[in-house]
């Protein structure tokens, strides 16, 4: 009996020690957003241990909501998915901009993110990187595919793929010549628009090979030749272009969808110092450029441009001529309740024959 108690006590103290031995930063982020080289450099520079958990927007919200903003010191949600979450389940804390080295950031992006992530006049996010959702096309087999509407074009029957999630509904609306973002203030009109989007996608379903579900399946389906015209992320398209020059990212005529991923601090962050240090470290020009060179996504760091590879610069030039750049549709914050409308639409499309 006594022995058991002692063993128990030792075991408990070991567990406790293991958890508190070092200064740690618990980071909740996307795959690729914390490159190993930068993590090592950060750990060497600050002595802070970085613990990374990979996630996506939906899971980030669910995780933080389950713990009421605990369990992580820093998260990286997309800017359009912050304010409605914060308004309903307060999982983040306001950013103290005096601790963020804003001089090294692109000012217009900081201001946009401040505005979009704002709740009651407080801002909850700092921009980190941006990118677009557009199309990845095998230009040899489908040379004319250049618009969202090609995702339901019979010409590419059996060779089309996309991710059946909310960006696709938005993209389809743009492909139909509508402007879904303009209807963000009018729930009834948005519902009606989604009904039309639903019809378009159900009618076009017979041409679809499959819905991809993750970055990996996105790459796999076009690389293997199972599809030639897919929706996709610019970074993924460009890295495919490197392997197979026939495949490339294309900004759709009716507008690529722009997203900005951010840094946001969970309400119960235990290591604010480390969180701000990481934010400033990752946005230093050299480090931000390393990230962009590696992953292909644009950065919010102002000075990073000087450190970018020619190949990365060429990607932007090739896929985004000036008019395509001007035509990027940046995601405004999602109004509350809209995702419920969209989820029903997505369900019905998935269930349709």
């Amino acid at each position: 009996m006594k022995k058991l108690v002692i063993i128990g006590a030792i075991a408990l103290s070991l567990i406790a020690n293991g958890a508190m031995a070092k200064d740690t930063l618990r980071l909740l982020t996307w795959k690729g957003y914390a490159p190993a080289k930068l993590v090592k450099a950060f750990e060497a520079k600050t002595g802070i241990d970085v613990k990374i958990t990979y996630s996506n927007n939906e899971e980030m919200i669910a995780k933080l909501r389950a713990t009421r903003g605990g369990g992580f010191d820093l998260a990286q949600p997309s800017q359009d998915r912050i304010s409605f979450v914060q308004a309903k389940f307060p999982v983040y804390q306001p950013i103290d901009f005096s601790r963020v080295n804003t001089d090294q950031l692109v000012k217009s992006m900081v201001d946009a993110v401040k505005k979009n992530s704002g709740v009651d006049g407080k801002a909850y996010a700092v921009p980190f990187c941006y990118g677009t959702t557009g199309m990845i096309v095998n230009t040899k087999l489908a040379p004319d595919a250049n618009d969202w509407s090609d995702l339901w074009n019979p010409k590419y029957a059996g060779k089309i793929s996309y991710r059946l999630k909310r960006p696709l509904l938005i993209a389809t609306a743009f492909g139909m010549g509508e402007d879904p973002f303009a209807l963000y203030g009018d729930k009834a009109a948005y519902r009606a628009l989604m009904k039309r989007v639903e019809k378009t996608l159900i009618d076009g379903k017979k041409y679809v090979k499959n819905y991809w579900t993750s970055g990996d399946t996105q790459v796999a389906i076009i690389k293997s030749g199972d599809a030639n015209v897919i929706s996709g992320w610019d970074g993924k398209g460009w890295s495919l272009h490197k392997i197979n020059p026939d495949i490339d990212f294309i900004a759709p005529k009716s507008g690529a969808l722009g997203w900005i991923d951010t840094f946001a601090i969970p309400a119960k962050s235990k290591n604010l110092d480390a969180a701000y240090k990481w934010i400033n470290f990752m946005l230093e020009p050299e480090n931000a450029a390393y990230f962009t060179n590696k992953e292909g996504y644009g950065t919010a760091s102002a000075g990073a441009l000087d450190f970018l590879n020619d190949e990365i610069k060429a990607n932007f030039k090739r896929s985004f001529p000036q008019e395509a750049l001007d035509n990027i549709k940046w995601h405004p914050p999602v109004p509350e309740g809209f995702e419920t409308i969209e989820a029903k639409v997505l369900d019905r499309i998935k269930a349709a024959e």
Partner: protein, 284 residues
Amino acid sequence: MKTRNGTFYLLMVPVLLWLLMLLVIPHLDMFFRSFRFETDDGLMVFSLNNYLSFFEDKIYWLTFVKTAVYSIGVTFLAFVVTFPVAFYLTKVVAKKYSSFMVLLLLIPIWIGELVTIYGWMILLSDNGVINNFLIRIGLIDTPIVMLYNNFSMTIGLLYMSMLFMIIPMMSALESLDDSLIEAASDLGASKWTIFRQIIIPYTTPGIASGGIIVFMLIIGDYVAPNILGGKSSLWFTEQIYNKFLATFNWNEGAAFGFLLLMLSSTIIWIALKLTGQKLERVGS
């Protein structure tokens, strides 16, 4: 009767803690959550709406039924496919080889479900191994579509669940005395009669426990239907996942979770009744 001293109760603690913290409390939480509903004013009230929404929308129904039918079907397929394997490994092949073969069967489990599923994608894709082979030997001209449909989903589910069927059946078969089969054979019973009247009744507990495990694994699986199932495959777990993660409606998700729990429990109860098995016997 032996007296129970302090050590007994101390050793009980982990068991009780496990049951309470990991089973009872989470389920109670989910149960209460499933009856809470957010009104348009943002108030949380007691309501059956979460359950009603399941009955109101046809999609949920269809998915529910499809999930149940496929789970039963794949469980049966798993039995059909693995019974000869289990029989061969226990009754036909020499003991020293059979344990090595069982080890081989285990290998897919070491790799993990996701990786084996990607493996199947490589095999079944339009430009995949199987299609390439068939075209090379001149059997077909254009690739057969095998990936992203119910066929590939069934294969994926079957592949990851087979082992859980084999092991319980093997342990049941191992205890079957060979002399029973020999005696029946001597008395003139045909192979089919032996199979139906001796082997099957004797191994039913093993089949039932394997069946329960496989059925549970399949009905609660998320990865195989999601990746291999293709554009029309809605699995009920996906609906639950969407409730929690896409629409943030945890209350409805909890209600759906309970519906799935009730569905699988009911099906297993019916199966046990039909085969005349008792849960206690199957579970041991």
